[in-house]
Every structure is written in C-alpha cells, then in structure tokens.
C-alpha cells in the first residue's frame, strides 16, 4: 500500500514537470543570451541570464504598446461584460415575465455558435460601423471590444444566473422592509454576494479577449499602432530568420498577466465553474 502510494506520488510529480516544461522552456529561452538560443546544442539551463530579448521586443518592436492595447481591450470587455451580464442575470432569475424560459434556452444555443464563422459578416459590419462611429470601425480597438463583449455575454449571463438564483428571496424581502429600493438591493446586496460568479465570468471573458488572434487579424488590417499582442507576435515571426529569443520573450510577456490572474483567482474559478456546471 505504501509502495503504491509512492509510485502514485512520483508519477504525479513527473507528469507535473512534463506539463510545466514548455512554460519553463519559454521563460528560460527568453532569458538566454542570443547565442545560446540560436544554438544547435540547446541546454536546459543558462549561465548568463539577460534581459536583452525583452529589451529587443519592447524597444525595437513596440511590444509595450501592443501589450497596453491588449490590456485595454481585455479590461474593457471584462468591465462592460460584468455589468451587462449581471443585469441580465438578475432579470432572468428574479423577475417573472413571459418568454423567460425561451430566452434562457436561446442563451444556451448562443454559446454554441462558432463565432469564428462570423468573421466575414462582422468584417463588413465593422466597416459600416466605422462610417458612423469611427471608434468601433475597422483598424480600431473598439471593434475588438464590442465583438468580444458580444461573444462573452451568453456564457457570462448563463454562469451568473446560477449564482443570482442561490441568493434567497428572504434577503430581498428583508432589504425591502428596511426601506431599500430594488435598485439599491440589486447593486449593494446582490452584486457583492455573487462575487465568486463575477470572478469566474471575468476570467473567462478576459482570456477570450486576451487570446483572440482571428478577429485582431481580420479587423486590424492597416497601421501598426492598434495591434494587439497576438498580432504583434505573428508579424514578428519571420519564416526564415526567426529570432526565437525575442519570440519567447514576447510569449512570456503575453503569458504573465493571465498566469498571475489565474493564480490569484484559482479558488473562485473552480467553485465558479462548479456553480456553472450545476446551474
């Protein structure tokens, strides 16, 4: 029995190392001097760590700007999506009205739409939007914000619905007796109570917006100032003369915020996911 336990534990640690290895290799290669990265005898350590590759991507390739662009898009999507989806979740759980069930089923179906297939109509839609409201037209970050907001809503509403439903009605009655208006109850009592759901929903929206490559590539066709990180990385990747050190540094910069975000909220994330599955 004890021997079996040891085998399981060792297997667990070895697999953890294998799974984490690509990440280790990414960070290591980003810190290696150029000569060691572009070497036919790569070694799994380095004696002379340097930030040269990071300097190269940040100064020469303008990655700092792309990083800020990506962050602005992702944070705007998260903020807007939280408010909008929370309002809808409240309406769908705490109000009685005709057609409620139909809406809930439609939300489920909407989650299944392969949004990638919509690049073509959305490309033309954004082009038309640009004539009226330049901020959400082609080549603008606003176009990415509104598109990812739309894509994140069905799942966020679906997830928050489960959380709002768990808040007992008695709480609303007590708040009403204490003289709180419906508006006050919604924002000052309900909103903080569903925090784990908000966290889980925001992680999912953040990651979708942050990872997006297809829509950035489709919408941001001219000019370089509004590029997001994935697009910056793609342009950086030249088929014949790859600067792997810089590509790994760019990839590391792209991974760090998500990793930090994940580690901070992991507890909420798992309970939030569980809530959504049960929902």
């Amino acid at each position: 029995m004890r021997r079996g336990q040891l085998v399981v534990d060792v297997a667990c640690v070895v697999i953890a190392a294998v799974v984490a290895f690509p990440l280790y290799w990414m960070v290591l290669s980003a810190l290696k001097p150029a000569g060691e990265v572009q070497s036919a005898n790569p070694r799994p350590w380095t004696g002379a760590p340097t930030l040269d590759s990071f300097r190269r991507v940040l100064d020469v390739e303008n990655f700092g700007l792309y990083f800020v662009n990506s962050l602005v898009v992702a944070l705007l999507v998260v903020a807007l999506s939280l408010v909008v989806s929370f309002l809808s979740a409240v309406a769908l759980t705490r109000f009685r009205f005709r057609g409620r069930t139909v809406l809930v089923v439609m939300l489920l179906v909407a989650q299944m739409v392969p949004v990638e297939a919509l690049t073509i109509p959305l490309f033309f839609l954004m082009r038309s939007f640009g004539d009226v409201v330049p901020a959400i037209g082609l080549n603008q970050l606003g176009a990415l914000v509104v598109v990812h907001l739309a894509f994140s809503l069905p799942f966020a509403i679906w997830m928050l619905r489960g959380f709002v439903a768990t808040v007992p009605d008695e709480l609303a009655e007590a708040a009403a007796l204490d003289g709180a208006s419906r508006f006050r109850f919604t924002w000052q009592v309900l909103f903080p109570l569903v925090a784990p759901g908000l966290v889980a929903a925001s992680v999912v929206s953040f990651i979708h917006a942050w990872n997006d490559f297809l829509f950035a590539k489709t919408f941001l066709i001219s000019g370089t100032d509004n590029r997001t990180l994935p697009l910056g990385l793609l342009v950086f990747f030249k088929p014949e003369e790859q600067d792997w050190g810089a590509i790994m540094a760019g990839s590391t910069l792209m991974t760090l915020p998500v990793l930090a975000f994940f580690l901070i909220v992991q507890r909420h994330l798992v309970s939030g996911m569980a809530g959504a599955v049960k929902g």
């Binding site: 799974v19 690509p22 990440l23 990414m26 109000f95 509104v146 990651i207 990872n211 297809l214 994940f262």
Partner: protein
C-alpha cells in the same frame, strides 16, 4: 416573491436591454448576414461596391459540395478533432484519477502545472511547442540526436502532413486537458464515500466499483466535457494557422475554419467562405442538441 409581479415585465425589459442590443447587433444579425452573403457571388469588386451583387441561390453550396477539396478538409477536420477530443479526455480523466490518489503536495504540483498550461495564451503555447520541435534549434531534435537518432538532427516536424498534425494535436491536448482534469476531479471528489463503502461491503472488486458505480455517476460530467471539447477542437484556428503557417505545405494541414478564412480573406471569395461558415455552424448546432440533452441529464 419580494417584488410586485405586475411591474416585473417592464423592469426586466430595462435590465435586459443592454445585453439584447449587443447580442442582436453583433451575434444575431451577423448570423443572418452570414447566410445572406453565402447566397451571393460576393468577391472583392462586390465588397468594395464596384460591382453589383448577383444572387446565386445555393450555387455557392453546390460549388462547395462538388469540390473534392472541401470533402477532404471536412474529413480531416472531423478526424483531427476526434483525435484531439479523445486524447484530451483520456489524459484529463487519467490524471484526475491519479490526482485523487496522490497526496497533497504532488497533487498541488500537478494542479499548478495544469493551471499553467491552461493559462498559457494560445499564441504563446503554439510558439513554444514550435520552438521545442524546431528543425535547427529545437530541444527535441537535439535530445533525440544525442540519444543516437542521428537522422533526427535537422528533421522538420512540420513538413510532413501527419507529423505536423501530430505536433498541433499535442499542443492542443496540452492546453485543453486541464479543463477535463478539473471537471473530472471535482466530479470524483463529489462522490460520497458511503457509496464506495457500500459497494465494497457488497463484495464489489475495485474494477467493478469503478465501472458499475463510479463511471455511471461521472457519466453526465464526462458527457459535458466531451461535447465542450468537440466544440473547441472542431473550430480550432489559431494553432493550425500559426504552427503550420496558414494551413501547411500546399494546404495539407487545412481544417474547416482556416479553409473558410483563406477562401474569404486570401481568396476574396466571401460568398464561398460564408457558405463554409454556414456548414460549420449547422454541424456544430447539431452537437448543441446533444449538449442541451446532457445538461438536462445533469439536473
């Protein structure tokens, strides 16, 4: 109910309005537009407004369905997605069972590593795997070379069709198994100890407990994880586009999503690209039916 019912309808409308506006304009309308565009001869002259639109009816679909290339890509997509889904589920479930038996420290290490793989942006993950398997500077070729496989030095993993697909599949499994691991682990943890004990008291063997007790309890969760994986892997875009440089040598690594993108934005045949999009949507909505059923089964 705490709130007056009569006013609920109007209040609900107000609360739902922002989401409705966004979803109608940017999800429902584009879906309608996708179908409309797929019925027209829609090329660059039409897109720029230089030529009038010509209604084709189902001609784009006829063109598509009579193109052997499309069937090839469709079959490739289905097989490739199936390999990724099965791989992801096997790895994720096996590791969930392993994690359930491991002690706290090894288990935490495994979860941290999985969390790292999960959090890695698609683009970054694709490049790291590409670099590990790089022809000249990759660690894998170097390691294989020093193990005596001299032929592997300078070997290109992306040149040959199946090895390129294999590499992409490995990256996809690496970044998607954590979802299955977390889901299945939560499922295993939720099984009450009494159930297992009762089975043991009744004289069930460990294998019989696993197949006759644990598996049926986990089946709904497994179903959800399966369908979710099918949806993700069926419409994969970034990994194929990045790792095989837009669909591989002579398009040998094209999957539906990349195929539609190339037809529309590189080939400037928006109508045909939209038709591929419609076909993809219909196929996925069929899977949605299964998903709704699975959801119902859970509750």
């Amino acid at each position: 109910m705490a709130f007056a019912h009569r006013r609920d309808g109007r209040a609900a409308l107000l609360y739902l309005l922002p989401a409705a506006v966004v979803l109608l304009a940017l999800l429902a309308y584009p879906i309608y537009q996708l179908v409309v565009i797929s019925l027209y001869d829609y090329g660059q002259p039409q897109a720029s407004g230089a030529a009038p639109l010509v209604f084709l009816g189902v001609d784009n679909y006829v063109t598509l369905l009579s193109d052997p290339r499309f069937w090839d890509v469709l079959l490739t997509t289905v097989v490739f997605a199936a390999v990724c889904v099965v791989g992801t589920l096997l790895v994720g479930t096996a590791l969930a069972v392993l994690a359930n038996r491991a002690r706290t420290v090894p288990r935490t290490l495994l979860f941290l590593a999985a969390l790292g793989a999960w959090a890695t942006p698609t683009m970054a993950g694709s490049y790291v795997w590409l670099f590990l398997f790089d022809q000249d500077f990759g660690l894998v070729n170097e390691a294989l070379g020093s193990l005596g496989f001299d032929g592997m030095r300078g070997h290109s993993w992306t040149f040959e069709r199946f090895s390129a697909f294999g590499l992409v599949a490995a990256e996809i499994i690496w970044c998607s198994f954590p979802f299955v691991l977390v889901t299945m682990y939560a499922g295993i943890k939720a099984i009450p100890g009494e159930v297992i004990e009762a089975a043991a008291l009744d004289g069930a063997s460990a294998r019989r407990t696993a197949t006759a007790v644990i598996l049926p309890i986990l089946r709904p969760l497994l179903m959800i994880a399966t369908i979710q994986s099918i949806i993700w892997d069926f419409k994969v875009f970034t990994q194929i586009y990045v790792m095989t440089n837009g669909g591989g040598v002579a398009g040998q690594n094209l999957v539906l999503n990349v195929f539609a993108y190339q037809k529309a934005f590189a080939g400037e045949q928006y109508g045909l690209g939209a038709a591929i999009g419609v076909v993809m949507t219909v196929l996925l909505l069929l899977i949605t039916g299964l998903y709704v059923r699975a959801q119902r089964g859970v509750r």
